[in-house]
Amino acid sequence: MGGNSATFRIFRHDPSVEGEEPRFQEYEVPVRQGLTVLDALFHIQERLDSSLAFRASCRAAACGSCAMHIAGRYGLACQTQVGPLGDGPIVLRPLAHLPIIRDLVVDMGPFWEKYNKIRPFLVPGEPAPEKERTQSPDDRDKLEGLIDCILCGICSSACAVGGTDDAYLGPAALLNANRFVQDTRDGAAEERLRIVDGEHGVWRCHTIFSCQEACPKGLDPTGAIMTLRRTIIRHRWKKLVR
């Protein structure tokens, strides 16, 4: 970072323009205390180069729009401060394993398709009572770290397996599958376990913990995958014994 400014090196590409090659473009952004990478992107787009494309919405780490690769690791642009990123140019790239629409914006379609595969909705075990279904605070606690997922796609992007197996459900979908398996109100565990038990499910994970390391919300998809594995094995045993 030179003086009071930082150099950003940003991935640029428009696949809709024939013959246009992907490239990196550099921008100087004035830095102040508290400046986030998202602030810097807006500065560039609004004041230096209006052609830059990126996504943003809540800017408070709740919506997952601005997930990208920032200075060597994945993160949300909105919750990444520029100050501590160091001297070199700050390199920004889009999420991996997804088709690029333009610049830092990827097509999340394949990501959502996988999420849809795990049947991400409660399938109640019993008919609804008049008031709420009760759930003990301890049982509710089991959902902590699972319901906090903002589906930003960072974990799936950071996952090495995702790069080699297009059909791998990936950490986000699997963490969300576990969210329903762990919910005492859900009655479809058998079916859920069957879905994630397949060739492109939980057994594909190489336990490298890249997803856990990358998660901007501090969640542990690897742990969720391990829990699913153990549950599957337990269910198999139960069936054998029965």
Binding site: G34, T36, Q45, R59, A61, A62, I101, F121, L122, I147
Partner: protein, 575 residues
């Protein structure tokens, strides 16, 4: 051209809830959102949703009517009481229902939905999922949409993500559909529908210091406004007492509901010094707390003249982590401060748009077939000041009601042939307007216009207002509108043209901002969030009425309409 029975504009809580309702009624739905639905502002809601469940040990005697009373009093008696009563009565139904769909609410020891105290409420009635209630509710509703999409026997439910609605088609007194631009390709297309719902959220970003998502430009209110539907009570803008210094990211009222202290530069709980907050202290209603903060700033008792300290340390790390994990995370990541060790620097910021598209209790506007719900709409249940936890409630109660009303409307509606032509004409007009922006020789920088609008709104149309400031603000906004006619879009690409999109939205923001200022200038009284230093008291004789702003080429034309009473007599608002 796309075609559906009903078109929903907006994929936040109100839009999703309406979609689920319509799908239950087997109506073909198209849902348009300028961002993927799960990127909507609603996911950022933190503290909770009100319903008189009586699950809290101190909530035994809570009832829907008490909830209604608190809401009406909180509104400074400007809310329409039959609508408020309906909302309060539906509240438990809607909350139980979303719990049945899987919403992971926090729990009491008996396993019931947990409730916490919130400002202006007689009982702890705010149901919550730690401090991420919006995320939990949004995921639950989105999950229900997927459930319907995956159920073979259901009608279609098509989601159009990253389409910006820029126009409405009007056929006489009928809404004939909408016109939208595909942000990913630049293409402008018509959406044919028998009924259209605007669930486009708030307009916070017309201010420079808003807690709202960056996308909350107000464009969604401007589209029906330009098509002849009035905006109601736009001068009522809520300022939240506790937003992070600098970024204005929200620190939920839950932080005070759980027992946090608000301190001035002397470390003093200054709310004790003001008659209207000395009893309820930190959980006095938002308008009152924000105003007293502004007074402290004026009196030179704010920290560094700009902010306050929100002290949570006495709650202990365990409680903070359990009840307010999201707040803690935000404070650490965005301000570098762990609330378990240090007070959080906070200042008031724009937070909620009480006004909105004028609708009746069923969500219908005066344009047949056009409906609105959620923060974009004004029913009115929040009147001059919304209570915390009532807005999430508003979205799912009136989202469901509007869904039901539209299903009924569509069943009895025969679309005249003229409607198709109206839609085609409107699409052609909007396409041309976009084309003009792209090819015209404008010279005005949209960013400069936007910056000045935000600054003006913040400085002159904020917590305290007066004639002088408001008149000058109106002049500024009109000047900006004039400059906007010569606005320039430099980037000519079609794919994800962020400059084009935000320039289009800026036009909407300016129209909405003008309606806010005009309403505020005309309303010569102080009520709820609207504090005029030149008219300090509430004036029921002249002003117990809703402002209606109708769009004209020369700016808003104001008229007024009576408040619906019927349950509670307007009285002085003391806490």
């Amino acid at each position: 051209m796309h075609s559906h029975d009903v078109l929903i504009v907006g994929g936040g809580l109100a839009g999703l809830r309406a979609a689920v309702e319509l799908n239950k009624a087997n109506v073909k739905v198209g849902l348009i959102s300028k961002v993927h639905p799960l990127r909507s502002h609603s996911v950022a809601a933190q503290g909770g949703i009100n319903a008189s469940l009586g699950n809290h040990p101190r909530g035994d005697y809570d009832t829907a009517m008490r909830h209604a009373f608190d809401t009406v009093k909180g509104s400074d008696f400007l809310a329409d009481q039959p609508a408020v009563v309906r909302m309060a009565k539906d509240a438990p139904l809607r909350v139980y229902e979303i719990e049945h769909w899987g919403c992971p609410f926090s729990r009491t020891d008996e396993g019931k939905i947990a409730q916490r105290p919130f400002g202006g409420a007689g009982f702890p009635r705010t149901c919550y999922a730690s401090d991420k209630t919006g995320l939990a509710m949004m995921h639950t509703l989105f999950e229900q949409m997927i459930r319907y999409q995956q159920a073979a026997e259901r009608q279609e439910l098509v989601v159009y993500s990253e389409w910006l609605v820029i126009g409405l088609a009007v056929d006489g007194d009928l809404c004939a559909g909408a016109v939208a631009m595909n942000i990913k390709t630049g293409e402008v297309d018509g959406f044919k529908a028998e009924a259209v719902l605007f669930a486009t959220g708030g307009a916070g970003r017309i201010y420079g210091n808003s807690t709202n998502a960056i996308i909350n430009s107000g464009m969604g209110m401007a589209v029906p406004y330009r098509a002849g539907v009035s905006l109601k009570d736009m001068e009522f803008v809520q300022f939240h007492p506790t937003t992070l210094l600098g970024s204005n990211i929200l620190i939920s009222e839950a932080a005070r509901g759980e027992g946090g202290f608000l301190l001035n530069k002397d470390g003093h709980r200054f709310l004790a010094d003001y008659p209207d907050s000395k009893k309820a202290m930190e959980v006095a209603p938002r308008d009152i707390v924000a105003r007293n903060m502004a007074r402290e700033i004026l009196a030179g008792r704010a920290v560094e003249g700009t902010h306050f300290r929100l002290d949570l340390r006495h709650l202990g790390e365990e409680k903070i982590q359990k009840q307010l994990p999201g707040i803690r995370d935000l404070a650490i990541r965005f301000a570098g401060i762990d609330p378990a060790d240090e007070p959080v620097p906070v200042q008031p910021g724009q937070h909620y748009t009480m006004g909105g598209i004028d609708v009746d209790r069923s969500g219908a506007t005066l344009l047949k077939g056009l409906y609105a719900a959620g923060e974009a709409a004004c029913v009115s249940v929040h009147g001059a000041n919304r209570l915390g936890g009532n807005s999430l409630l508003d979205t799912i109660v009136f989202g469901a009601i509007a869904g039901e009303a539209m299903a009924e409307f569509v069943a009895g509606h025969v679309r005249p042939a003229s409607s198709d032509k109206a839609l085609a004409d409107s699409a052609a007009r909007e396409r041309e307007a976009v084309e003009r922006l792209m090819t015209g020789g404008g010279t005005e920088d949209p960013v400069a216009i936007k910056d000045e609008m935000k600054k003006t709104m913040m400085e002159k149309v904020g917590i305290f207002r007066d004639r002088e400031g408001l008149s000058s603000a109106l002049e500024t906004i009109r000047g900006l509108k004039d400059r906007y006619k010569r606005v320039r879009v430099s980037f000519k690409g079609k794919v994800l043209n962020q400059e084009l999109r935000s320039t289009i939205e800026l036009g909407g923001s300016l129209d909405v901002a003008e309606a806010v200022v005009a309403g505020a200038l005309a309303r010569e009284e102080s009520r709820g969030s609207h504090s005029r230093t030149d008219f300090r008291s509430r004036d029921d004789a002249s002003w117990l009425k809703h402002t209606l702003a109708a769009h004209t080429p020369d700016g808003p034309r104001l008229s007024y309409k009576d408040v619906e009473l019927g349950y509670f007599e307007p009285a002085e608002r003391v806490y």
